[in-house]
Amino acid sequence: MIILALAVILIVVNITGFSKKIKNFFYSVSAPIQKIFWHTGNNVSTFFETILEIRNLKQKTDDLEVENQRLLSEIAKLKELSEENAELREALQVGLQKEYNLSFAAIIGKDTSQEFIVIDKGSDNGITEKMTVITSQKILIGRVVEVYENFSRVQLISNTKSSFDVKIQDKDITGLLKGEGNQRVLLDLVPTDKEISEGDIVMTSELGGIFPAGILIGKVSSVRKSDTKPFQQANLNIFFKLKESDKVFIIVSLK
């Protein structure tokens, strides 16, 4: 009898949408604490990573010195280019704010199932489902899948349920990007006659209409090609690192 009553209550709560109100209430109450935990976690992990890195410091210093020399010479070249670039940028009005209407939000937590993040903006701030979430460097994070009054849940591109069209920068190659969990993604359905190589930059494509075109995703790390299969696959290193970001932008609309 109790079980039956419980089942009825749960079904009613979920169907009427009351569950969203409950979740929103709990998120509102715990948001300040979660923010503190998120920042502390970030600081503590950075601290430990620094300690672990000490062993490799000598080798790293040597490598960096060599690289430093090389970079110094490049800087001279780039300075000239940057002046030119600044002028062009102004002329073309390139920049995130110029391309999109953005809303700014902070990450307050990760979902228990690990492939979602929770951000502190919701329907009260004009956020709706399917909106694209990016970083300030125009790197794709994912898209909003659930909206509460003051919070939203964002499905990461590495989520196993995520798949969308992408293209390779500067090449006429399109493919399908599938999430594989644990911050891993797979580039699939690339015809074998197209040449992809390590280091190629992958970005969103206008095909499919899920994300706006031209948002950065990651770099090709390895290519899997087989003569028996009509398509080739590639593993990507995604640019978005959860550990390094706590602020995100939501694309409210295109300009």
Binding site: V13, N14, G41, I108, D111, T112, F116
Partner: protein
């Protein structure tokens, strides 16, 4: 009553830590579900006739539901079912009395 209050507050903070602190210390991209582990441990180490295990399943399940994308009730049902299962297995196969911690 005191135990229940400790259970609710304790589970709440563990869940917040799990969602907002431990993602930075993931191993191969994943972190363990501490609520799950805790509920199993309470169920394993309590007296067979005690009810704390069942209660912890309900509280833990509810919190997991609230902070996940799943509809409310999924984790709740899974954890309560698991709690019953542990009790049934213990009753059937373990006749000896171990020193219960809870």
């Amino acid at each position: 009553m005191k135990k229940i209050l400790i259970l609710i507050i304790g589970f709440y903070f563990i869940l917040l830590l799990q969602n907002s602190f431990f993602p930075f210390f993931s191993v191969i991209g994943t972190i363990p579900n501490f609520i799950f582990i805790l509920v199993i441990l309470i169920n394993l180490f309590e007296r067979p006739q005690a009810k704390l295990g069942l209660l912890s399943s309900a509280v833990g399940g509810l919190f997991l539901d609230i902070y996940s994308i799943l509809p409310i009730g999924i984790y709740l049902v899974i954890l309560i079912f698991m709690s019953f299962l542990i009790k049934i297995v213990f009753k059937k196969y373990f006749e000896f009395q171990i020193n219960p911690l809870v």
